[in-house]
Symmetry: C2
Subunit: 163 residues, 2 copies
Amino acid sequence: MTHVNGVAIQDIYPENVAYCYGCGRLNDQGLQIKSYADGDETVCHFVPRPYHMAIPGYVYGGLIASLIDCHGTGTASAAAYRKEGREMGTEPALRFVTASLQVDFLRPTPMGVALEVRGTIEEVKSRKVVVSATVSAGGEVCAKGKVVAVQMPAHLMPKQEPT
Amino acid sequence: MTHVNGVAIQDIYPENVAYCYGCGRLNDQGLQIKSYADGDETVCHFVPRPYHMAIPGYVYGGLIASLIDCHGTGTASAAAYRKEGREMGTEPALRFVTASLQVDFLRPTPMGVALEVRGTIEEVKSRKVVVSATVSAGGEVCAKGKVVAVQMPAHLMPKQEPT
């Protein structure tokens, strides 16, 4: 996977699809999850906020699911551009949504450290990409997951507002 | 399942495990997801906030996963109390965490309406409960999921602070 010069995959999404609560750069109240190419994998670092707890000391599972979700669709987008031999961010945009999400919580995920999400591309078809992911804290895998991502249907793609 | 007089399952969790970002009544910055018994099922209503979007007009999948997650563990708690013939909220607390979470997104979930999450108990063992769930908007099922919930290990259960 081509490294995108330190630019996050989500930061190259067109503006009209950059409002996602999980990863949209234009959603001021969102999580602003950022994924980067790292060789053939993708990587994301995220520090849960103190209120993102499940029980005191441990991270909320729904946040972990959100990290896997947005990192998965971001990885799918990067994989689809690569398969087409196109530069990330070129039009028409290849933006993916989640068809299914599976998360296995292997052990409690501690608060207070940056989590590392790693994505691996398992399958790339024309409109469907399967990504597996791990979520680690301090080098230990705490959760693993799988995202089946499908290309966003054209009728859902909001019209790009003229700027 | 005994109806708990209109009290949410999560509102009977002991204080020391009531800080969950998804459903803890003591987490002021959390989602405050509330689940109720409804005959043999459980039900939860939640209105996503405007910023909980995936793309404009549609709900963020990570939020849907969070609803299924917390509704699933709440349903598991209620099911475990019922199996033991105990009243909800009695000590020792039966509090569950998620071992695995599966979500299938069947169609885009529209913003601007209350979502209804319905939980069905699929299996109740001594320390493990399996719950299936649907998430509907305007009477149409938009997502379905499954939660494998396991009883919270004693060593993770925070000590109850004297009040």
